[in-house]
Amino acid sequence: MNKKQGPAVNNSNYNLEKLSSFDRGTHGWSKIYKPDRYRFWKDSADLQKPRISRGAGLSYAAASFLDESISISHSNFNRLIEFDKKNNLIRVESGITLAELFSYLELNGLYLPIQPGYSQITIGGCIASNVHGKNHARDGSFINQIQAITLFHPTHGTLEISPDHEKSVFDLTCGGFGLTGHILFATLKVQPIPAKCVLIQKIPFESAEEGLSLLNKQALDCDFSYSWHDMCNGVSDHFGKGFICQGKFVSATNTEEEIPEDSFLIKQYSLFNKIPISLLNRASSFILNKLYYHQQISELSENIPLYNALYPIQKNLIYFGLYGQQGFHEYQVVIPDESLSIFLEKLHQFLKRYPSCISLASGKSFGGKNSLLRFTGKGTCLALNFPRDNQSPNLLRFLDQLTIDTGSLPNIIKDSRISAGIIDQCYPEAELFRAQLRAYDPKRLFRSELSERLSL
């Protein structure tokens, strides 16, 4: 990583750094400012280039940088501002991570039900991507637990936005990929923790269709609900064999250890993702998936700490490192109920004909209604992970077309190469989003590689 000193903005220097999307599919050189005082935001109007906020930088797509542009890190804005115990509301700076917030809330017997599976993601990142948790069908997505946001835009100044005030800007901001301005603060609705322990029960199934159908049936009765599938062996009759994880809060003792410290896991991940080749290929994924399946179903129920239940990716972070420098693709899509069978059948047929390394496949039950560019809608959310290699373009082309043909919705934040053309065909309100964004920010001060690629 090369560093270069740049001109200060109100005594804030910048670093010129090469940044990458988490899937390592997109790279760019950005000037990163890392302010630690609030007067920086007002002076940021002087910045001559487009800019974008940056939280933890963990988006799979390049949502927090643009080549030869400016990223502004919120890492120093990670504090608790106000806690309304009576109404279960907490106001935080947007740079606070889920882990930092969890550690405080847990002490007070509270938590955020809707969280992604990795605790180092920031609240600002959660808002900008409108992330989902472990049970979208029951709980919805992150927007459902936002009471209010304080947003800063050099032209509009500081705006207080909520579902009741400046609603159009609020709707544009939640799942708006940081394109409406810098999210400074967020007021979040938290819930009492029902219990500190979660009973995870695993229900094996023989095929993807069987598993996903069962997943959708029981999702509303669980606190946590997702499925794991082995799609590595495309020729198998048991395509997508796997298990469902159903989690319910229980008052019991943990049988699983808490996940090791983040710094240790991050070091392991950092070590592996520098390897020039992917350690995950069809052969290794086939073996690892078999081993993982048998290891998981050897214990069909266990009590785990809430932290482990909320952040399952934490202990498996090294998995993402195994893809090496080339990185990976994640294709995550919400498939309408009526298209699920045909989607799975066509996918199976394709993989029989063109064997590919699907190293990880997982499912969640989804609900709600799609609007603007938010990844929501009624159906089944299926995520497929595979290495970035010579075969992946073919698989991606197929998945793009299958998504369009089945009326499915691809997740923009999970795909660093998806095109504007695909998005326009899948998101009915894509053009509405563009129009509203241009009306709000005609100069388009906030830009990222993602926004440029999707012509937002």
Binding site: K3, K4, N11, N15, D36, Y38, R39, E82, F83
Partner: protein, 241 residues
């Protein structure tokens, strides 16, 4: 009390002291930054936090406000001075106003406050005053000329303070900071990896029991300082920094 509390080492010290459930008095120039920091510490650690927004560029007025703030608390027994200011253009042609500003923020206000508040601190059983210098003052150089002079002056004052304090219960500590992850060092090419502000604060607090301390942080800078001082002038004058 932490004078210069809202960023860098000052902010990290606030967090570490609050973790120990000690009440705090914070001084910084920006009320917004200060207010947010205070809210965070109160919520997270449940400690009492009082704040004073005052700007060191107003010299005497700043000293007066901080002293009044400190004396107003009968239990005040410890003051940290991570306050400081450096300017990018601190070279031979620095203006008089900017020269005064650097001396004010790094030296004059610290001396002024200590001179007026020490008697109040001595009412406590084991008071402590902590000052912060810089590796910039190891030896004179063509960049950061005034800043390094101010910090060298501050070190001299703290030595004198230590001499005075040896006859009292007052503890005096002076940390000459090497590279620390702050706005000052961000984006700069550094010879060594910087210490995080959090780790710097932890190391500083570990020493709070010591009667008198004048040390580098990280400590390996002591060796570098020794070498730098003995480089022959014929060679030293060619180093550009």
């Amino acid at each position: 009390m932490i004078v210069g509390a809202s960023a860098g080492v000052g902010r990290a010290l606030c967090e570490q002291v609050a973790q120990q459930r000690s009440p705090l008095m914070l001084v910084a120039s920006d009320l917004e930054d200060l207010g947010i920091l205070a809210s965070h510490l109160r919520i997270k650690y449940g400690v009492q936090v009082d704040i004073l927004a005052a700007n060191a560029k107003y010299g005497n007025e700043f000293i007066k406000k901080v002293v009044e703030f400190g004396v107003g608390n009968a239990k005040l027994d410890c003051i940290y001075f991570p306050i400081g200011l450096s300017l990018e253009n601190d070279q031979i042609d620095l203006s008089t106003d900017e020269t005064s500003l650097i001396f004010e923020a790094n030296l004059t206000v610290v001396v002024g406050i200590i001179n007026q508040i020490t008697q109040h601190l001595l009412k406590q059983p084991s008071p402590l005053i902590v000052g912060f210098g810089s590796i910039a003052s190891i030896r004179g150089r063509r960049n950061n000329m005034v800043y390094s002079a101010a910090k060298r002056g501050l070190e001299s004052y703290f030595e004198s303070l230590g001499h005075y304090a040896s006859l009292t219960s007052l503890k005096i500590q002076f940390f000459k900071l090497g590279y620390v992850q702050t706005q000052q060092s961000y984006g700069k090419k550094l010879l060594f990896p910087p210490l995080s502000a959090e780790n710097a604060a932890k190391l500083i607090l570990e020493k709070r029991g010591e009667k008198y301390l004048n040390t580098y942080l990280p400590r390996y800078w002591g060796i570098i300082a020794f070498i730098l001082r003995f480089i022959p002038w014929a060679i030293y004058k060619k180093i550009n920094f």
